[in-house]
């Protein structure tokens, strides 16, 4: 019971530390601008779900930058500035600190960008329970999971806020732009497979033409890749943080 209370206090403290008012306003405004600054390319109802695909690319890009900045700040920044040492001098367990930092960064970022993206349901006159809207949201979740795990693991190794932020941004954006779409290695490439498959399944329309054939196996791979990257990097970072990391 007490450890639960400590965890939620840490969570609140992390949130207040990193999402103070000007930063929160900046995040919400940037998310709204990302959605509203893009025009609706398809004005016919049977193809308007493709607008979601067209608009998700910029969200992935901004989530990479903002996610890397926030996760590097909370992990590498706290090591660099000595906040972690100070916090661990209190009766706090390392796992509480790790998970509170992760949750306090991850949940608000996903809520802010997910909520802003839901404006598209109104703008594109989509069905409230449009399956491809939820697919896009799930893609954001998976992308944020990859960004967070890469940033956290780099923060553990580099222990410098700016350097780990730059390294994770360059690494993820580099991989995203290395291969031509569709591919299994970039988030947008994987979303292309998923839209083609679920577009045909839910709307009976192949958004990227009849020549591009996607099997259920391809779609499973597109979901498995980010989950595997996240789980392996996240578990390794957590074990390192809990058992091996020396904080001097």
């Amino acid at each position: 019971m007490r450890s639960k209370k400590t965890f939620f206090n840490l969570l609140r403290w992390e949130f207040e530390e990193h999402y103070s008012l000007p930063i929160l306003v900046f995040l919400i405004s940037s998310a709204i601008i990302l959605v509203l600054a893009q025009s609706n390319l398809n004005i016919h109802p049977e193809r308007n779900f493709i607008n979601l695909y067209n608009k998700s690319g910029s969200i992935f890009f901004i989530l990479t930058i903002i996610g890397s900045a926030f996760f590097s700040r909370t992990f590498a920044g706290s090591i660099e500035k000595g906040k972690l040492k100070l916090l661990l001098s209190y009766p706090i367990k390392r796992w509480q600190l790790f998970f509170s930092k992760f949750s306090a960064m991850f949940i608000p970022l996903f809520i802010i960008y997910g909520t802003a993206f839901s404006i598209n349901i109104y703008l594109d006159h989509l069905r409230p329970l449009e399956p491809l809207f939820f697919l896009s949201l799930f893609a954001f979740l998976l992308h944020l999971m990859v960004v967070s795990s890469v940033s956290i693991s780099l923060s553990m190794v580099i222990k410098n806020e700016i350097l780990s932020m730059m390294a994770s941004i360059l690494l993820i954006i580099g991989i995203e732009n290395l291969f031509s779409i569709p591919n299994f290695f970039s988030t947008e490439g994987r979303l292309t497979y998923q839209f083609q498959y679920f577009g045909e399944l839910s709307h009976n329309i192949k958004p990227f033409g009849d020549d591009f054939i996607v099997t259920s196996g391809d779609v499973i791979v597109t979901f498995l890749i980010p989950i595997l990257i996240f789980s392996s990097l996240f578990v390794l970072s957590f074990i390192y943080f809990k058992r091996f990391m020396e904080i001097d």
């Binding site: 929160l24 601008i33 049977e46 109104y122």
Partner: protein, 181 residues
């Protein structure tokens, strides 16, 4: 009180962002065409959409000003129907258009789209000969729904900030009285 001020500031910022975005969006126009001159003419006394058809494609239009450049080689009757009106026409052949114009030959019209919805362009050929027609539409100007959303968000934000300021001032006035007491 601090939370009310913060919510007020966030709402005001959201409204301001939507306002800025609606001005940005107004700088771009949306163009689309309906019908082509010299291709699939409309037969005498017939509609461009078959009643009871299920594969008709409407347009999703934003509440902006629409400029329509109508060209025909004879005359047509032209109706713009929303989803409900189209369903009514499809089932009972009863016309309740959002906008209509009969006996059009060649003209330019400006229509204010009321709300973000699906709209059907219904065209009737009243003459005894086949008619070619082409309608070029351009949507321009501010999207009124976004404008109203921004105004409402900014107003609520300002009201919340004002309420919290009044409470803060009242508390400051009460404090010296409490100390003297």
């Amino acid at each position: 009180m601090k939370i009310i001020t913060q919510v007020g500031i966030i709402l005001f910022a959201v409204g301001l962002t939507i306002l800025a975005c609606s001005f940005y969006r107004s700088s771009s126009t949306e163009n689309f065409n309906n019908g082509v001159i010299g291709f699939l003419p409309l037969q005498p006394h017939s509609w461009n959409i078959d009643p009871n058809s299920t594969d008709t494609t409407p347009y999703i239009l934003a509440p902006r000003t629409m400029r329509m450049d109508v060209k025909t080689n004879s005359t047509i009757d032209f109706y713009i129907l929303n989803r409900d009106a189209f369903t009514l026409w499809n089932s009972e052949e009863k016309l309740e258009p959002d906008w209509s114009c009969e006996g059009v030959n060649q003209d330019i019209y400006t229509v204010q789209i009321k709300n973000r919805n699906e709209y059907f362009f219904l065209i009737y050929n009243p003459s005894n000969s086949a008619v070619d027609f082409a309608i070029n539409c351009t949507l321009y100007d501010l999207e009124t729904d976004l404008l109203w959303a921004s105004i409402v968000a900014m107003t609520i934000g300002l009201i919340l900030i004002g309420i919290s300021k009044i409470f803060q001032q009242n508390q400051k006035k009460l404090l010296p009285k409490l100390h003297s007491f």
